[in-house]
Subunit: 362 residues, 2 copies
């Protein structure tokens, strides 16, 4: 078992990473008589709810659960209210613990429920997708969507603990594993050349879900993100680097309609555009661009723009991005593999050119 | 103008208290181009919305407003969502400011909206009722109700500033002014004998809304509450003393149905029961009990139990109170006028006897 500590100004919390952690009652920080409300969805529940409840009950905790429907479109105030109703019907007090068992949607909704139920109760995150394991369970962002915007309602709220069982990836659709790998590769590209090289060596083992390799990988990603978040809790500086590929990626997701390409798939192509643009600006060698492309391809990720999207379609979406300041594009680009920076006011012709180079021409 | 600073671990904020503060643009901490969303209700809006908007616009701020219906029953997630919709429709970003213009309900809902819109935006409280001026605008508690419980969903979120214009009390129904005075008298009774004596001298001027006396009074209450909150942000110790009269008061409110007696009216009778019980326990003299009774009566507040409620009706409600721990009553009682304490496990016969003594017998 690996342990990554997240150090924040006010508190620290541990991320435990291993295989088969869910079944072992010793991993749960609860005691006799503690009340626990598990928030999950039907898909995850069929695989893991019973194991988690059994382990908690072995510690003497009194467990209940509430299911919210599966999918991003249920990341709403209504789902949040389902959790509050379940807690109130069963008379849960301020001393209750909420466990988020599932992917990013469950983590976000259950996390915000924990932040706001009786003005804040204890939260344990058990992320069960690769994306949520390496990304959304670190940093304390919780939120629900509003019909007029994603993640518009939420709180910064840190869990007491994150429990990552990499065996849960065995029940995850392969396409979602691969999408998670896009974010993994991103960490190497923006901040950690050594990790990038390690990924070039081990990406096939990751795709094959080799447990010890997976654990090392998840721990490294959590360490990188935890360091970034600790340096920049309020999201003013370094944290922006985590958005490599995301401005282009969001344009793809918006243009195709959310859900057609997975987030990680859009980010994969977005990173390629950023790399090509970085090459045009004289930072990255063509060889390095090619290394990134090969790594993404080995993770079965797209590296070119969707064929239903024209290069001209990107900029209008990009200019509506939250990261645009005073009408100027702010893009995360690469100085080298392992070193990202924020470029402001990049020439639109260069941007369009990079997008064209990442468009299927055959 | 008076100023009370609230000192918290992470930050401090000022409470400005005066007459005619709303009209003076110098009192608003906004600058040219700042965006502001005012949250208010139709009743308060007709009196003060235009003044506040005009003052903000003189500073160059871009102002909008959203109305939520008047009354405790609208302190809901639905009203919260009205605020989010207004913010999103007008493209408000993380740099927006929410102003809560109204009484306790507006402060609670708008405060929670500020805590959770894009994970937190700036908040200015402008309380317009005596109760919200001396109580709910200090301490950072925000919340909405759930159909299964009051104040069950919320956050601790501190405003950047509280602006109290005591002239707004001129448009408040007299009955609500008096109900606010119950909480004012409470501050004297629990923590400040000197203030209690001052109130005995000035209560008629307060009922008559004499401005300089009102300002002194509101500032003193804010100072007392700010000190308590600063000592006990997490609500484990001293803050409990603020509940003098509230356990009995909640029993009255619940028994009669919320809204039949105002909160302050129920607290007034509740304080009398607590005082009589304190006398039975040998702490308070009969003369002191009588001083409290006279002061409450001069503020036109009830000092005896509602005639539709029997002494036996109290305990069942009281045992369901959040402050009951392990089946034992925890009551705030008085050692003397100006010194409260928390009594645990008080004999139920004594409690019942005190309630009987506060029941109308004619």
């Amino acid at each position: 078992m690996l342990c990554v500590n997240v150090e924040l100004q006010e508190r620290r919390y541990p991320i435990l990473i291993g295989s088969g952690l869910l079944q072992n009652e010793q991993n749960y920080p609860v005691k006799q008589g503690d009340r626990v409300m598990i928030v999950t969805n039907p898909t995850v529940a069929q695989f893991y709810l019973e194991s988690v409840m059994t382990a908690l009950q072995k510690r003497g905790a009194v467990t209940e659960y509430v299911l919210i429907p599966d999918g991003e479109k249920y990341k709403t105030l209504e789902s949040l209210n389902l959790i509050f109703t379940a807690l109130l019907k069963a008379n849960h007090g301020r001393d209750t613990t909420i466990i988020a068992l599932g992917g990013g949607v469950i983590g976000d909704v259950a996390g915000f429920a924990a932040a706001s139920y009786q003005r804040g109760v204890r939260l344990i995150q058990i992320p069960t997708t690769l994306l949520s394991q390496v990304d959304s369970s670190v940093g304390g962002k919780t939120a629900v969507n509003h019909e007029l915007g994603k993640n518009m309602i939420g709180a910064f709220y840190q869990p007491s603990m994150v429990l990552i069982d990499t065996l849960t990836l065995n029940t995850l659709p392969k396409r979602e594993v691969n999408a998670g790998l896009a974010e993994v590769i991103k960490y190497g590209a923006i901040l950690d050349n050594e990790f990038f090289v390690w990924l070039e060596k081990h990406v096939d083992d990751l795709v094959a879900l080799k447990q010890d390799i997976l654990q090392h990988c998840v721990a490294r990603c959590c360490r990188i993100k935890a360091d970034v978040v600790a340096r920049d809790e309020t999201e003013k500086g370094d944290r922006a680097l985590l958005n490599l590929g995301h401005t282009f990626g969001h344009a793809i997701e918006t243009h195709l309609g959310y859900g057609n390409w997975l987030h990680g798939e859009a980010v994969s192509t977005g990173m390629m555009v950023a790399a090509v643009l970085s090459e045009e600006l004289g930072h990255l060698s063509l060889a390095d661009v090619s290394r990134l492309e090969k790594l993404l391809a080995r993770a079965n990720l797209p590296t070119v723009s969707p064929d239903t999207m024209q290069p001209e379609d990107y900029l209008p979406h990009m200019m509506r991005d939250k990261k645009v300041l005073a009408g100027k594009l702010r893009l995360v680009l690469l100085k080298s593999l392992g070193q990202a920076y924020v470029a402001t006011n990049t020439d639109h012709t260069l941007v369009l050119n990079a997008i064209r180079r990442c468009t299927q021409t055959d």
